[in-house]
């Protein structure tokens, strides 16, 4: 996986309750180093209370799902439920989620480490995720959504994309996702109209042009050529702007097919 440094810096900044600009002292670390550091920090935070979460999870082992879910909602709250979830079998966690409302599930997701929740993401019915997606879009939790995008089964991600009405939101989420290859595959499945709206939104903000560049760099030549055709249809001047941005971010070579089309 090609680790985008800016994406990882944004994610690490969130974990440390800082702004990316406040992490200048980490300038010598590349994207992979930042990712390794973030994972170590998240795991160490979880480990500090691991014993407690394990005990809570074990104490509810024999209780029916509905009762455990009720205790989570009424007694433990989202933070403890999220941390305890790593110690509950994924099948059971998915069954318990059926007893939670969208708001509670979104609160749990805000507290979870996506890497650790991968198995739950596989088991959880996508219909339960729709409401969570809407909640997170409303609260502009793009950094959480980006993190989950890296670990969400692609089929489910494709379905959940239907919930994102504003293309700028897709770009904001993408800016926190490390797996640009997945975003590229999901983007390539959009129809021409959706893609043109995405391109239009992207060229309204320099940070978005950079993001689209990173995503397109993961597309094959055929998809890049399609993106070039649609970009020209939105505005023939856009590709020159994209070339300048790609020159700055070092993605010119990876975007050869886009610029040659």
């Amino acid at each position: 996986m090609n680790i985008d440094r800016d994406t990882e810096l944004r994610r690490l900044a969130r974990v440390l309750h800082r702004e990316p600009g406040q992490l200048g002292h980490l300038a010598a670390l590349d994207g992979a180093g930042l990712m390794k550091l973030r994972t170590l920090i998240q795991n160490s935070l979880l480990e500090e209370f691991a014993g407690l979460f394990e005990k809570i999870a074990a104490s509810g082992k024999l209780a029916p799902d509905a009762l455990s879910a009720l205790l989570c909602r009424k007694v433990f709250g989202p933070s403890i439920t999220a941390n305890m979830s790593y110690y509950v079998p994924a099948d059971r966690a998915a069954r318990m989620c059926k007893h939670f409302d969208d708001e509670f599930m979104a609160e749990i997701a805000r507290e979870q480490i996506p890497e650790r929740a991968q198995e739950q993401l596989e088991k959880l019915p996508v219909e339960l995720m729709r409401g969570v997606t809407r909640q997170m879009l409303a609260s502009r939790d793009y950094h959480i959504m980006g993190g989950f995008t890296d670990y969400l089964p692609e089929q489910k991600a494709m379905i959940l994309m239907e919930e994102i009405a504003d293309p700028a939101d897709s770009l904001r989420i993408s800016s926190f996702a490390q797996r640009k290859d997945r975003i590229a595959r999901l983007t390539a499945q959009m129809d021409d109209g959706q893609l043109m709206r995405l391109i239009d939104a992207a060229f309204k903000e320099p940070a978005f042009i950079h993001e689209v560049g990173l995503v397109m760099a993961q597309m094959d030549a055929k998809d890049q050529q399609r993106m070039a055709r649609l970009t020209d249809a939105v505005d023939p001047k856009h590709r020159a702007t994209a070339r300048r941005e790609a020159g700055k971010s070092g993605t010119l070579e990876a975007l050869q097919a886009f610029f040659a089309a």
């Binding site: 440390l16 309750h17 002292h25 795991n43 160490s44 935070l45 407690l52 433990f76 933070s79």
Partner: protein
């Protein structure tokens, strides 16, 4: 002789040797990073303890002490 990553290793609950990738950072930058991690750790700890207190407050007070003992909080 102490390892330059000792403090960070303690904070990150790992072995200093596993933090060799941080050797590209100057000592002052590593100190600053340790400060960042310590602050994040304190904030997280406060958050979890607060959540646990809130949870215990939902229970009848007679149950709180045995549950505290059971979960070690």
């Amino acid at each position: 002789m102490p390892h330059p990553n000792d403090k960070l290793a303690r904070l990150l609950r790992t072995q200093p040797a596993k933090l060799d990738f941080l050797s590209v950072l100057a000592e002052a930058d590593r100190q600053k990073l340790a400060g960042d991690i310590e602050q994040a750790r304190q904030a997280h700890s406060k958050h979890i303890r607060g959540s646990m207190e809130e949870a215990l407050n939902q229970l009848p007070w007679l149950l709180r002490a045995p549950i505290r003992k059971l979960f070690g909080v």
